[in-house]
């Protein structure tokens, strides 16, 4: 720490895990700042849902339909699937840090397939919900939160798909892999905002 002494370059293990030991290029800083702004956006939506839930007479869907139930197998299963894709995505980042493009492509492929399945399932959830967006505060919050989260999942998938295609075309190696790291960070954000906040609120807030 002290100035003047020999500095043994020791990167914090969490940082090392997430973005490697190299100095972070501007693009990674950019995506990290952008993720902070995304967190604030979802904070706004989530704060709204909590405020409405805490202090409203009309929480239940006004058309008499049931809220979406989280204690059924399917939503839990798909939540676990979405969040667990953080693992192959991180492995993809590890792989390309070592220059293993082949492993990276395989791992990204897994993420793309499961992520797409998650979105399709969300489509079914919307189709099967027993209320419309105009049926009260819960209904409006449900569609707004899941809708915007879904849009972010799609955005993340497009981001990853673009890097997947670039990988197929021979881009990326151990030195040049910033876009993969950025996509990985973004994908972690998309998964964890669902697991930690949106899923419990939408499915379990009584």
């Amino acid at each position: 720490m002290a100035a003047g002494t020999v500095s043994t370059k020791r990167v914090h293990p969490v940082r090392s895990f997430l973005v490697g030991d190299e100095p972070m290029p501007p693009a990674l800083w950019g995506i990290i700042f952008f993720i902070f702004s995304e967190i604030m956006f979802f904070s706004g939506l989530i704060a709204a849902m909590l405020a409405l839930h805490a202090d409203t007479l009309h929480w239940e869907p006004t058309n008499g339909g049931h809220r979406v139930h989280g204690d059924e197998l399917r939503p839990i299963l798909f939540t676990v699937m979405l969040v667990s894709t953080s693992v192959p995505m991180q492995i993809a980042a590890f792989a390309i840090r070592k220059g293993n493009r082949r492993l990276m492509l395989w791992m990204m492929g897994i993420v793309l397939v499961i992520g797409t399945a998650f979105i399709i399932n969300q489509g079914f959830e919307w189709g099967e919900a027993m209320f419309g967006i105009s049926d009260g505060t819960y209904a409006a919050s449900f569609y707004t939160l899941t809708g915007f989260h879904g849009a972010h999942v799609i955005g993340g998938l497009v981001f990853i798909l673009a890097q997947f295609v670039r990988g197929l075309l021979g881009h990326f190696d151990a030195k040049r892999n910033t876009a993969v790291e950025a996509a990985t960070l973004y994908w972690h954000f998309v998964g964890f905002v669902w697991l930690l906040v949106i899923f419990p609120l939408v499915f379990f807030l009584s």
Partner: protein, 569 residues
């Protein structure tokens, strides 16, 4: 880089003109983008000023000249245009143009995203402007757009037309442009500084850009969430978010809106403070007093800005008054530190007063009145009496509108030689200053008095209480005097672009890096950089022989923060 000369040397004038236009439309150069922000913000500011003249004409005497609906629409658009399309982008203009130069960077970290920000901003602005053409007219719920009057749901017979939707979408786009811009500013400051440019050697304008960037980054998305819910409320959810009869909460909107819009006040004023600080550091001919305390005060203002939003909602009965009152009072402390430092810088300075410096001193005076009236509002009992009167209108115009505008105008006069290689005309500049300074005080000081007398805001007519007509007439005259001043300014811009006196690379004897390059700078900004040993590298360069000895220099200038060798970021 090679294309630069092409535009000027092509034989056919028409081809050259088209090429120049195409070059500007496709540019990713931060300087050109900054200048485009300036032009756009100037044009929008002119529109917003025209609206205010109509409003003042209406209020000059009792009785009505325009309909109440037209009045509602115009004061809504006056506020929206001035805030979202003038004050925020003109800040972005200088942050774009000057910040990378000040830290010795070649460009922004993400030049293409920077261009994208500008075009999103322009599109959002055009969308707001187009809402004049749709059925039902523009949004007319005030720039704060409080529900339920923004909503179309059973309780409201009169629904605002699609202009309200265009407003919501337009502001979402403008916010998105800000967010992309802020990411760019932050990464540029953290990663693109020239060797030797540590954090504690950054010019104060760069510091304000950094803090402003953080404020934009963390507050604007919350506004976006509110706007999105407002849009959904009007187009599908039927008021479930904000309409009480549908289970929604109007206060929810107010909380989210002000969570953005209080920091937004600082997003507008902090860059102006930064400009003024840099200008004081040049035209007093001494380093700014308390450089570090300036930075710390800035950071404190930024942090406190996030916990005071509910002072806009004291009278709603829905907020915890003591906390928000106390927190708001606290902001007076770092603001006072800044005031003290500016005045102290001038105290023993060898002050010179070109127009840029005049506007900076004007900024101090206006901001002082604005700041003091702000403390009035922070006191809950006083606020209960003054809420929704012209005292509020006077207060916020003094601070975030007029003081900020004075700061930005100072920036125009200060950086014009750098941008275009020519001085702005000083005589016209001084005329501009005095007309504007007298004009705005005529408007807004009378508004403070009217507010103390209880005149309510946002209403197109008023009763002929003793003195009200006289004071309103004075305010209206002030508005036209200010407008005349601004006309002088716009004339000066065009006149000086054509006939202005040629400026050297460092016409003011500046202290920061933007003066180390040519005027205007080359596309790559710098051919060479001076060594950076303090936060005043050009001063060091000029007096290098005498003061190069670090210990000697810093030993005798304790207020100078450059002694630190701490690596930043």
């Amino acid at each position: 880089m090679a294309t630069l000369a092409g535009a000027q040397t092509t034989g056919y004038a028409g081809v050259a003109a088209w090429r120049t236009i195409l070059e500007w439309l496709t540019t990713v150069d931060h300087k050109k983008i900054g200048i485009m922000y300036l032009w756009a913000a100037g044009a929008f500011g002119l529109v917003g000023m025209a609206f205010s003249l109509v409003l003042r004409t209406e209020l000059m005497e009792t009785g009505t000249v325009i309909s109440a609906e037209a009045y509602n629409s115009l004061f809504t658009m006056h506020g929206s245009v001035m805030i979202f399309l003038f004050l925020l982008p003109i800040g972005a203009a200088f942050m774009n143009y000057s910040m990378p130069l000040q830290i010795g960077a070649l460009d922004m970290a993400f030049p293409r995203i920077n261009a994208l920000s500008f075009w999103i901003f322009l599109f959002g602005g055009v969308l707001l402007a187009m809402s004049f053409a749709v059925e039902g007219g523009t949004a007319s719920a005030g720039w704060t757009a409080y529900p339920p009057i923004t909503l179309d749901s059973g309780a409201n017979a009169e629904k605002p037309g699609s202009g309200m939707d265009m407003w919501l979408i337009g502001v979402i786009l403008l916010g998105q442009a800000s967010i992309f811009g802020s990411v760019n500013f932050l990464v540029t400051i953290f990663k693109m500084r020239a060797p030797g440019m540590t954090m504690w050697r950054m010019p104060l304008f760069t510091w304000t850009t950094m803090v402003t960037g953080l404020l934009i980054l963390l507050s604007t998305p919350v506004l976006a969430a509110a706007l999105v819910m407002g849009f959904i409320d009007r187009n599908g959810a039927g008021g479930a978010f904000f309409e009480p009869s549908q289970g929604g909460q109007p206060l929810l909107w107010q909380n989210l809106f002000w969570f953005y819009s209080h920091p937004a006040v600082y997003i507008m004023i902090l860059p102006a403070m930064g400009i003024v600080s840099d200008i004081f550091g040049v035209f007093t001919r001494r380093p700014i007093f308390g450089y570090r305390s300036m930075v710390l005060a800035l950071i404190a203002i930024g942090l406190l800005g996030f916990i005071v939003w509910a002072h806009h909602m004291f009278t709603t009965g829905g907020v915890f008054l003591p906390f928000f009152m106390g927190a708001t009072f606290l902001i007076a402390v770092p603001t006072g530190v800044k005031m003290f430092n500016w005045i102290t810088t001038m105290w023993r300075g060898s002050n010179v007063f070109p127009t840029a410096m005049l506007f900076s001193v004007g900024f101090l005076m206006l901001f002082l009145i604005g700041g003091i009236t702000g403390v009035f509002h922070a006191a809950v009992p006083v606020d209960f009496a003054l809420h929704d009167t012209y005292f509020v209108v006077g207060h916020f115009h003094y601070t975030m509108s007029i003081a900020a505008t004075f700061g930005f105008l100072a920036g125009c006069y200060y950086w014009f030689p750098k941008m275009f290689g020519k001085f702005m005309n000083e005589g016209l500049g001084k005329l501009h200053f005095w007309l504007l300074f007298v004009g705005v005080n005529l408007i807004f000081f009378t508004q403070l008095l009217l507010g103390l007398d209880g005149m309510p805001r946002r209403i197109n007519d008023y009763v002929a209480n003793p003195g009200w007509e006289l004071m309103n007439t004075i305010a209206t005259i002030g508005a036209f005097v200010s407008a005349a001043g601004m006309m002088v300014f716009f004339f000066n811009v065009f006149y000086s672009l054509k006939y202005g006196e040629r400026a050297s690379d460092d016409p003011w004897e500046g202290t920061t890096l933007e003066w180390a390059t040519s005027s205007p700078p080359p596309p790559h900004n710098f051919d060479s950089l001076p060594e950076i040993r303090s936060e005043r590298p050009l001063f060091d360069l000029r007096f290098g022989e005498r003061l190069a000895d670090d210990e000697h220099y810093h030993g005798h200038a304790p207020s100078n923060g450059g002694s630190s060798s701490k690596a930043g970021g």
